[in-house]
């Protein structure tokens, strides 16, 4: 038991440290760029604005936010202090809404879309990969190149193809958004139907992309496991093939869990770009709006929340992995 506490304690501590560094990067990276980015940002944010008082307000916002008169470390402390209060500043493009509000609203959409889609895609991909490894021959030869191609398709590319085929050409799915533009979020059947129909395309496009990569990984892991000594031994003890396939599947799947953790950052990044294709009201679309509108606090808040999502997902996977894989458990007890 003590081993567990130590193991997970270390893991959590490491992730907290990573988060601190991520926050620092979020703060310092833009400031380390040559020139005066803050002034450039102010200029960019105010171009095209005619309302003098609004321009002044934004300028003041920036100066207060960045505390330009203070030293960098001082500015950083203020920034972290504000973070703890849940204050990420005020959005310019959606003035006067606080950034936390805007992000809080969109992050739910992203989570509700990506978590189920990645999990389902991961699961189906693993099953197909294992089946391909077990059957080999025809199924394998026909399906694997397709999966390989799918896994190399950029997520936004798949999204665009889905929109073009199903929304524009066949007109069987809505073109964009998270729900019908004429509806207000509520628990009416009408709204829920609209919600689901808008969910389908982004959901399936993420699943398709995820399946490809996972199936390929699972296939080679399964082939490796099928040749393991315990498979032969189990056979010679008279255990049925179906049972042995169960062992192989489980053992091949465990490394796939770590694989998921390692590729999560890239995956989420790609999916966030794909979100913008559907104008899905998630973080991706918010980020794009921030970039297009030169809304600096919104961009910074979005990148921070994306980092946080990836970190938490990684931590969850690592903890889960420690529980399900006895090999890790053994390592914990040793330490």
């Amino acid at each position: 038991m003590k081993g567990y506490v130590k193991y997970y304690g270390q893991k959590v501590a490491w992730y907290v440290l990573t988060l601190i560094i991520a926050v620092a990067l979020n703060f310092f990276l833009p400031r380390m760029m040559p020139g005066d980015p803050v002034r450039a940002i102010v200029n960019e944010a105010t171009t095209g604005m005619t309302n003098a008082s609004a321009i002044q307000q934004i300028e003041q916002q920036y100066y207060e936010r960045f505390g330009l008169d203070k030293s960098l470390p001082e500015q950083f402390l203020t920034y972290v202090g504000n973070l703890f209060k849940g204050d990420l500043g005020t959005s310019f493009t959606q003035y006067p809404r606080p950034v936390t509000d805007v992000i809080g609203e969109s992050v739910i959409w992203t989570l509700a879309l990506q978590i189920p889609a990645i999990l389902v895609g991961w699961f189906i991909g693993n099953i197909l990969g294992a089946v391909a490894a077990y059957l080999r021959k025809g199924f394998d030869k026909a399906v694997m190149p397709l999966f390989m191609f799918l896994s190399n398709m950029p997520a936004f590319g798949m999204a665009i193809i889905m929109v073009w085929v199903f929304a524009v050409t066949l007109k069987i799915a809505p073109l964009s958004g998270g729900y019908g533009y004429d509806l207000l979020p509520s628990f009416t059947p009408e709204f829920i139907v609209s919600l689901i129909s808008h969910y389908a395309l982004p959901f399936f496009s993420i699943i398709l992309i995820t399946i490809g990569g996972q199936a390929i990984g699972m296939r080679s892991m399964s082939i490796y496991e099928l040749n393991a000594d315990y498979v032969k031994y189990s056979r010679f003890l008279g255990i049925k093939d179906r049972k042995i396939i169960g062992y192989v599947f489980r053992n091949a799947m465990l490394p796939q869990v770590t694989g998921l953790a390692l590729s999560l950052g890239t995956m989420i990044g790609g999916n966030i770009v794909a979100e913008t294709i559907f104008s899905y009201p998630g973080i991706g679309t918010t980020l794009l709006a921030g970039i297009t509108g030169g809304d600096y606090p919104l961009i910074s808040g979005s990148t921070l929340i994306i980092t946080l999502m990836v970190l938490v997902a990684n931590l969850v996977i690592e903890i889960l992995y420690g529980v399900i894989d006895p090999r890790v458990k053994a390592a914990q007890q040793d330490s």
Binding site: V273, T276, S300
Partner: protein
């Protein structure tokens, strides 16, 4: 070495990947050279011109030299072209509802009977109870189109003379002209984009630019990753701990986020293609570093390395002579993957509007970004985005295939898979 290269070219996966990649690369190098227009030259004045060959109408009408009469079902083809399936169905509905035609008697496939029945039955003056005016107007428009298509009187050509219009000739409806005889024609093999640029020329030049972005990013990432990986793996101790910590950090903090943060901070005037490529390279090295490090650690205590150490060779010499050759194949594989992910990273950044800020050259990402801004898929202009997506997918697919092929040759225990 030669033996290994031979081995590589015996791997079917590598060969398929190599062939796809070479086809794309050769297209990208040679097509812009043979294309008659520049990649960034706006030719069409309308956005999203569909693929096809465009013939100058005046040339076609004036050219009388090569004209000839062809006996072909001209009217039928014109009807097919002029009426959509929807419109044919509307005609059938009108005839069944108001023309006394029995339901099921007419079909959209039997166009001749439909047109004949229409011409004899349709009455534009008939006011049907309950029919909206807009619907009535639409039927009138269909009728006019049917009548004009059926007309076989040919076209009369008139020119503006001193006393008004002067008829200079007529063209019979069966007259044809050889496209080669028309002085001005232009072919858009893949249509034109929102700026009216020829997509194929633009795409091939964009592929070349994107490959350059991938190569710059890949080389930078591989160089940094290799240097740090060698250092961490060979020196070990504190240096290793520090480098491992940093690599672990950046495998968890998504490089995508770093890319956005950095690109957003570079003023758009400074954000050229090379700068974006460099930024991608500087955020992508941790993967390479990780795998090089683990390779070096497994090599560090091999006999030949120990022998070199005992012989008193210097560290750079040992690394260069006794370690580098053994990790070379991994480095090549890592570089290939870095190139492919660099191309993808550029595309994603550009989609968010943080890609190269230029109008001088196109990249695959910028082409996608323009398509998105001008709603290419909403208007169904598939030629403006589909070739770009497929190019990205095929480049990445071919590079990954080559990588898998190399992996099978250099890591024989995986050969079965």
């Amino acid at each position: 070495m030669l033996h290994q290269i031979k081995q590589v070219f015996r791997s079917p996966k590598f060969i398929v990947g190599f062939i796809i990649f070479m086809i794309i690369l050769l297209m990208a190098i040679f097509y812009p050279l043979i294309s008659s227009v520049g990649p960034m030259q706006s030719i069409s004045k309308a956005p999203f011109t569909a693929p096809g060959t465009y013939v100058n109408i005046e040339d076609a009408v004036r050219d009388t030299g090569g004209q000839l009469t062809l006996e072909l079902p001209i009217v039928e083809n014109r009807i097919e072209d002029a009426l959509t399936a929807d419109e044919k169905q509307k005609m059938i509905t009108w005839l069944e509802d108001n023309g006394g035609v029995a339901a099921g008697e007419l079909s959209a496939d039997d166009i001749e009977t439909l047109i004949n029945t229409w011409n004899s039955t349709y009455d534009p003056t008939l006011v049907v109870q309950g029919m909206l005016t807009s619907a009535r107007e639409e039927y009138k428009r269909i009728d006019i189109r049917v009548k004009s298509v059926l007309s076989v009187t040919g076209v009369t050509i008139a020119e503006q003379g001193e006393d008004g219009l002067e008829v200079t000739g007529t063209i019979d409806y069966k007259r044809f002209i050889n496209v080669n005889d028309v002085a001005n024609t232009f072919t858009f093999p893949l249509g034109a984009d929102n700026f009216g640029r020829d997509v194929l020329t633009e795409l091939t030049s964009a592929i070349l630019t994107s490959l350059r972005v991938g190569l710059i990013a890949g080389l930078i990432a591989t160089a940094i990753g290799l240097a740090l990986g060698l250092l961490a793996g060979y020196v070990g101790g504190l240096v290793d701990n520090l480098i491992t910590f940093i690599t672990n950090l950046f495998t968890v903090i998504p490089s995508f986020v770093l890319l956005i943060l950095i690109s957003n901070s570079i003023s758009s005037s400074a954000r050229g293609v090379e700068v974006v490529a460099m930024v991608i390279g500087f955020t992508a090295w941790p993967w390479t570093c990780r795998s090089v490090r683990s390779q070096v650690i497994s090599l560090r205590n091999r006999d030949h390395v120990n022998l070199s150490k005992l012989s008193g060779h210097s560290m750079p010499k040992i690394i260069l002579r006794d370690i580098l050759p053994y990790v070379a194949s991994y480095v090549v594989m890592a570089l290939i993957l870095q190139i492919s992910s660099g191309i993808l990273a550029e595309a994603q950044l550009s989609m968010l509007g943080l890609g190269p800020s230029t109008t001088e050259v196109a990249t695959l990402g910028l082409m996608m970004n323009w398509s998105q801004k001008f709603s290419a898929w909403q208007v169904g202009a598939w030629w403006a985005f589909l070739p770009v997506i497929l190019s990205i997918a095929f480049i990445s697919f071919s590079l990954n295939l080559m990588n898998t092929g190399l992996d099978q040759v250099f890591n024989p225990q995986l050969r079965d898979s």
